[in-house]
Symmetry: C2
Amino acid sequence: MEKSDSKDQPKQVLAEYLRLHGLRKTPERFAILNAIYSIEGHFTPEVLVEKMSDEFNFRVCRATVYNNLELLVDAKLVHKHRFTEGAQYEKSFKEVSHCHLLCTGCGKVMECDNHNVQRQMETMRVKRFTVSSYSLYVYGLCTKCSTALKRKQKKILNKIDIQKNGRKKD
Amino acid sequence: MEKSDSKDQPKQVLAEYLRLHGLRKTPERFAILNAIYSIEGHFTPEVLVEKMSDEFNFRVCRATVYNNLELLVDAKLVHKHRFTEGAQYEKSFKEVSHCHLLCTGCGKVMECDNHNVQRQMETMRVKRFTVSSYSLYVYGLCTKCSTALKRKQKKILNKIDIQKNGRKKD
DNA sequence: GTCAGTGCAAACTTTTTGCAACTAC
DNA sequence: GTAGTTGCAAAAAGTTTGCACTGAC
């Protein structure tokens, strides 16, 4: 009977978190949570405010969004990333931790499931430290940037060669 | 004889990087590199500027430091981290990639060598992506914050209990 | 009724940009 | 001499803060 599915919902988790921390159940908090869980992938605080206003017709000021994002991170309902200048967030409830591929050429962020790493991380123990989550960022080049870089390097090498030969000929 | 130890020096790596990219060997670049390699652990651009001025008597403006940190990251001589607001850097030449433990309570950053993870990362292959480096951040609580949190939670639970009992008595 | 939480605007921090001056090549 | 680099100052981007007001408890 009444299998406690509902208890597994992010909303319930937030409610319980607020209760256990003696904090208030404001409409803003649940509206923010709701908006976040309607977003697939990463988002910035700015985008979240905009989306809430546009799609949910719910206006919140930035300070509130910043405050509550921090709270939701603490409640383990949201992951915080810092790929570039400015933080990016991502829902995290019942999501498998995936690693992120960051192209240092164009800045593109891709996701990648590496089961070996995941297994390893889930069983990771560290002395004098209570592990709660992890982020793995892998830097490198996407195919497009990799090709572009090779072309660019060839061009530079040609230029260096020309300069040298020019000098030699003098 | 003349074993090419010198070629392995960061300075040589930078010189070669600059040559292959058609960039200039400015004194600022080598001064910045030098200062960075005198620092153990993480530092911010601000701290680097200060250190250069104070300890090396070499004044550079921030813009130059920012430009060249980016360049050094590209040359794989420096790692860039974004633990908090504001980037932190770290020398990376011939350094073993270590994972970072980030305490979400006090913000303390600790280093941690996990050989399993290191081995795994060094052999990692991803489709359509040329891996060049990685960062592993493990979030959690240090012993001090873990203890503090437990104490705090106990206090809140007591408070909630008192409120409930108070109501019931009414 | 009280105090945590919100909105607003201003302040602050970190990073980038535009431009004149400089210098490595 | 040319064009890549630097310094400087101003602007931009992202986040935090102070304060008055509101509303969850």
